[in-house]
Amino acid sequence: MKLTEIKRKGIERMNDTLFRIMKAILSFFLVLSQCVLLTGCWDNKELNQLAIIVGAAIDKDKNNKIKLTVQVFLPQSQSGGQQSSSGKAQVEIKSAVGTNLADAASNLQREYSRKLFWGHCKTYIFGRSLSEKGNLGRQIDFIDRHPEPREDSHLYVSDGKASDILQLSASLEKYVGDVLRKMSEMHVGANMTLKDFELMVTSEGGGALLPLIKIKHPNNDDRKMNVSPIIGGTAIFMRDKMIGRINEVESKGLLWVRNQNELPEITGYPKKGQTISLYLKRTKTNLVPKIENGKWSVTINISKEGMIVQNGSKINIMSKKNTKRVENYIEKDVSNSIEKALKQVKDGMKVDPFGFATAFHRKYPKEWEKVKDHWEVVLPDIYVETKVKVHVLEPGLSTTTLE
C-alpha cells in the first residue's frame, strides 16, 4: 500500500513540466507530419497539372454524335529569365467526338497529359446545325451541372461550324474566346450568359436569343486584313431549339425592346445623302400590355437621350426648332429597326424573345393562363405600338459644319 503510493508519487514527479512540454511538442509535430502526408488530397490539383480550357465549340457530328473542340492554353516556361516577347499566349486546338458533351470531353482527355480544367472557359460556341436540331438544353446541362464551368460564361451560336471560329486568330486579345466575350460585354450584339439564356428559355413564352457569330472574310481590296469573327445578328430560339436568324439592324431593334444596350451610335437620314448621328447616353424601354374588348396590344415606350457626334446634313442643329427635327429623324430610324425586328420575329417566326409574354403574365395573369398553351397562335395577332422619344442633350463640341 505504502510502496505503491511512493511509486505513484515518483511517477507524478516524473510527469513534470518538462515531460509535459516534450509530450506537447511531440504530439504537435505528429499532427503536423500527418498534414504533410495528406498533401496528396483527392482534390489537390497543382497549376502545372492542368490543361486550362479557354474556349469550347460544340458541333453536330455524324451518327447523332457531338463533336467538342477546345482551345487549350499552353503555358510557356519562363525560366532562364527569358521573357517571351511575343506576348501572345499559345493556344492549341483539339477536338474529340462523343455521344454527348461529357463523353466527348472524356474522349478528349485521352489526348492530354494534364487534367482538362473548365474553370476558365468562359465562351461556348454552338454550331448552327446542332442548335437547329433542337434539344440544345441536353448539351448545356453539362455546363450547368459539372462543377467547373461557370454560370456566367457566354454562349454563342456560329453561323457555320463552331469549330471554325476557334481556329481564327485573335486580334488584341490572346485567344478568340476572349475576343467574343469582350465584344459582348461591350454590348456589340446581345450579351447572353448561360444564366440569362436559361432564364429566357424557362420564362413564359419561351422565346430566347443568342448572339450569332459570322466569319468576316477580307474583300479583295483589303487583303491584309485578318479573317476575324464578328457578331453579326442574332439567333432566335424557341425553348432550346434555334428556329431562325435576324441581321444586325433587326437585332438592334430586338435588343432595344428588351431594354438592352447595343452599340450607342444611331444614325438618322434627313434627306438622301445626308446623315446625322447621335451617341446615346441613356436609354430606357417600357412595355405596357393592354387587353381591351378581348383585343391584345402592347405599347413599347422607348426613350433615348444622347449627344450629336456627327452632323452630315444642312440642318443648323444649334437652334431649338431644328433639334426637334433631328430628334424626329432619329426616332424614325429607331422605330424602323424595331418594326423590322417585330415583323421578322413576331410575325415570321412566331416567337417572343421580346418579353411580351412576361409582361402579359404580370399584368393579366388570368387571361394569360388561357392563352399560355397556344401563345404562338396569339402572338402574331397582337397589335404592337411603338412610341419612340429621342432627346438630343447637346449638339456636340462644335457649332457649325464645314461647307
Binding site: R13, D16, T17, R20, I21, K23, A24, S27, L32, C35, V36, L38, T39, C41, D43, N44, K45, E46, L47, N48, L50, I52, V54, F73, P75, Q76, S77, Q78, S79, G80, G81, A89, F117, G119, H120, K122, E148, R150, K174, D178
Partner: protein, 513 residues
C-alpha cells in the same frame, strides 16, 4: 493535451544556503573585517580601507572598486573625518554628522552590509560600534540616454530607457509629476539580486491588478534576472501561446501613456526594456507616433497596419490554396500568367512557399545578428538569392517572390517586434493547412487563431478586447485613433475606476458663433 500542460510546476527549493549573513555586526572591528573578508573571499575588486578618525578611533571603509565615487569618498568622507579639527573620540552618530553627505543609512547585519556594498554604497564600520553606516555614494559608468533603435519615431520624444533603474524611474517621474505615481520595489534573483519596480498611478490603476502583479512577482524564485524577458515568461497568463501577453517598450512616453490608462509598468534593473500589463491584441498595433500625428493620418495608418497584419499571416497561404485547389477563383488573365510562370517550377506550391518563407526568415535572422558592415553584404546576397537567382534557376516562380516580399514587408509594419514575429511564425502552420485542405484549411486556421485569441488573457483582461468582449466606447482607440477631443474616457477594462481623462466637449470651435 492542453489541459495537462496547464498544471503549474511544483515549487523548487531556494538555491543558496545563507550561513552567517543574518548575524548582527560585531563590536570588534577586526572580527567584522574578518567575516567580511571571508564572505568576499576571492573578490579582488573589494577594497578594505582602514583609517583613524581624528587620529584616534579605528575605522574601516569597505566598497567595491568601480561602483562607488572614489573622489567623493576622499573629499566628503575621508577628508573631514581625518582632519585634526575633531579633538575627541566620537561615536557613529557623531561621525555621520561630520560626513558631508545627504544619504547615510544605518546598517546592522552583515546582510545589510553586503547589499549596500554590492549596490555601490561604501560601508563605514567603527571600533566599539555594533552598527555601521552605508554611504550613498554609488556611482558607476552608465550609457547616456539615446533614442531607442527598436522604436524610433518620426515625431515624438527622442529619449529611451537605459540600463540603470534609477535613471529610468526619474524619466517616468519627469513625465508624470503627480505624487500619485507610486512604486513598489522588489528584489528578485538569489545571485543577481535585481531590483524590480512596479510602477502605477494610484487612483487610476485597479488595486486588484497591482496585487495580482505583486503576487505573481513574489512567486518568482530564480537565481538571476538579467532582462525583463525572464520576468515576462514567469508571470504571463498562457505560457504556450505564441502571442506576447505583456508589452515591452523602451520608451518612457509609451510607459507613461500606459500608466495613465490604468496599466502597471514593471521596470527591471539592467535593461532598458520595461514591461506593461495588462495589454490587448490592439496594443501591439499602436505606435507612439499615432498619438502625436494628426488623427486622420494615424487612423489610416492604423487600419493599414491591421490589413497588412492579415496579409502577413494569410497571403502565402492564399497563394498556395488558390494555385493548388481553387484555380477558378482567380481572373483568367492572372491564372494564365501564373500557369506560365509556374511551368518550370519542380515543386508543388506548398513546398515552394515553405522553402521561400524559410529562406526569408533565415535571411532576416542572419541580417539581425551580423555586424552592420556584414549585414549589408548579406542583404545583397539575400536579395539576389531570393529574387533573381532562384527564379532563373527555375526553383521558384516570380510570383512567389512577390508574395514573399509583400509578406515580409507586411510583417514589419507591425510596430511591436514581439507581436510581429509571433504572427510570422503562425503563417507556417496555416500554409500547411492551406496546402492540404485549400481555402477550407485556411478558414480552419483562421478560426483556430481567433478561438485562441479569444481564450487568451493578459492579467485577466481579454486579449481581443475591445472586440471580444465588445466595448463600444473603447473602439475609438482600436481600429482608428480618434482625435484627442474625443478620447474622453480611459480604456474600460483597465481605467474604469477613474473613467474620465479630460473635460468633455473640447472640440475646438471658432469663437464668435
Amino acid at each position: 493535451m492542453f489541459r495537462i500542460l496547464k498544471k503549474r510546476p511544483q515549487k523548487q527549493h531556494p538555491i543558496e544556503e545563507m550561513s552567517n549573513r543574518n548575524l548582527p555586526l560585531s563590536t570588534e572591528l577586526d572580527k567584522n573585517l574578518q567575516i567580511l573578508k571571508s564572505i568576499y573571499k576571492g573578490c579582488i575588486d573589494v577594497i578594505y580601507h582602514p583609517f583613524l578618525i581624528a587620529g584616534k578611533t579605528k575605522a574601516l571603509l569597505v566598497y567595491i572598486d568601480g561602483l562607488s565615487d572614489t573622489e567623493q569618498i576622499d573629499s566628503s568622507v575621508l577628508a573631514p573625518l581625518m582632519s585634526k579639527t575633531i579633538d575627541k573620540s566620537i561615536n557613529l552618530q557623531e561621525t555621520c554628522e561630520n560626513i558631508q553627505l545627504s544619504n547615510i543609512r544605518v546598517v546592522k547585519t552583515y546582510d545589510d552590509c553586503i547589499k549596500n556594498i554590492s549596490n555601490g554604497n561604501p560601508i563605514l564600520l567603527m571600533e566599539h560600534e555594533e552598527q555601521g553606516a552605508a554611504l550613498g555614494l554609488a556611482k558607476w559608468d552608465k550609457r547616456s540616454i539615446k533614442e531607442p533603435d527598436s522604436e524610433s519615431v518620426i515625431r515624438g520624444p527622442r529619449e529611451g530607457f537605459v540600463e540603470t533603474l534609477g535613471v529610468n524611474i526619474s524619466m517616468l517621474r519627469r513625465k508624470i509629476r503627480s505624487p500619485n505615481l507610486k512604486m513598489i520595489k522588489m528584489n528578485i534573483g538569489s545571485y543577481s539580486d535585481t531590483s524590480i519596480i512596479i510602477a502605477y498611478i494610484e487612483g487610476i490603476a485597479n488595486q486588484s491588478l497591482i496585487d495580482e502583479v505583486q503576487n505573481r512577482l513574489q512567486k518568482v524564485e530564480i537565481d538571476s534576472v538579467l532582462e525583463s524577458g525572464y520576468i515576462e515568461e514567469l508571470i504571463e497568463d498562457n505560457v504556450f501561446s505564441p502571442f506576447p501577453q505583456l508589452l515591452d517598450t523602451e520608451r518612457p512616453d509609451v510607459a507613461s501613456a500606459n500608466l495613465l490608462e490604468g496599466r502597471v509598468v514593471i521596470l527591471v534593473d539592467g535593461t532598458p526594456f520595461v514591461l506593461i500589463a495588462p495589454v490587448s491584441f490592439f496594443s501591439f498595433f499602436q505606435a507612439p507616433d499615432d498619438y502625436y500625428q494628426r488623427y486622420l493620418i494615424s487612423s489610416v495608418i492604423r487600419i493599414m497596419r491591421l490589413f497588412f497584419m492579415l496579409i502577413s499571416v494569410f497571403l502565402p497561404s492564399l497563394y498556395v490554396a488558390v494555385s493548388s485547389f481553387h484555380q477558378e477563383m482567380v481572373p483568367t488573365t492572372l491564372i494564365l500568367s501564373m500557369a506560365s510562370l509556374r511551368e518550370s517550377v519542380p515543386f508543388t506550391a506548398l513546398i515552394e512557399a515553405v522553402i521561400m518563407e524559410i529562406v526569408f526568415e533565415a535571411l532576416r535572422e542572419a541580417g539581425l545578428r551580423l555586424p552592420k558592415q556584414v549585414g549589408a553584404a548579406v542583404s545583397i546576397v539575400g536579395a539576389l538569392v531570393i529574387g533573381q537567382a532562384a527564379v532563373q534557376a527555375g526553383l521558384v516562380s516570380p510570383l512567389m517572390v512577390i508574395v514573399v516580399a509583400i509578406t515580409g514587408i507586411a510583417s514589419f509594419m507591425i510596430p511591436r517586434y514581439s507581436e510581429g514575429i509571433a504572427l510570422r511564425l503562425i503563417r507556417f502552420p496555416i500554409m500547411m493547412l492551406a496546402g492540404t485542405m485549400g481555402l477550407y484549411g485556411l478558414a480552419l486556421g483562421f478560426i483556430a487563431i481567433v478561438i485562441h485569441l479569444c481564450k487568451l488573457r493578459s492579467f485577466g483582461v481579454p486579449y481581443l478586447s475591445p472586440i471580444a468582449p465588445t466595448i463600444g466606447r473603447d473602439m475609438k482607440d482600436a481600429f482608428i485613433r480618434s482625435p484627442w477631443w474625443m478620447l474622453n474616457t480611459r480604456q474600460h477594462l483597465t481605467g474604469r475606476i477613474n473613467k474620465y481623462r479630460q473635460a468633455p466637449n473640447q472640440q475646438p470651435k471658432p469663437k464668435n458663433r
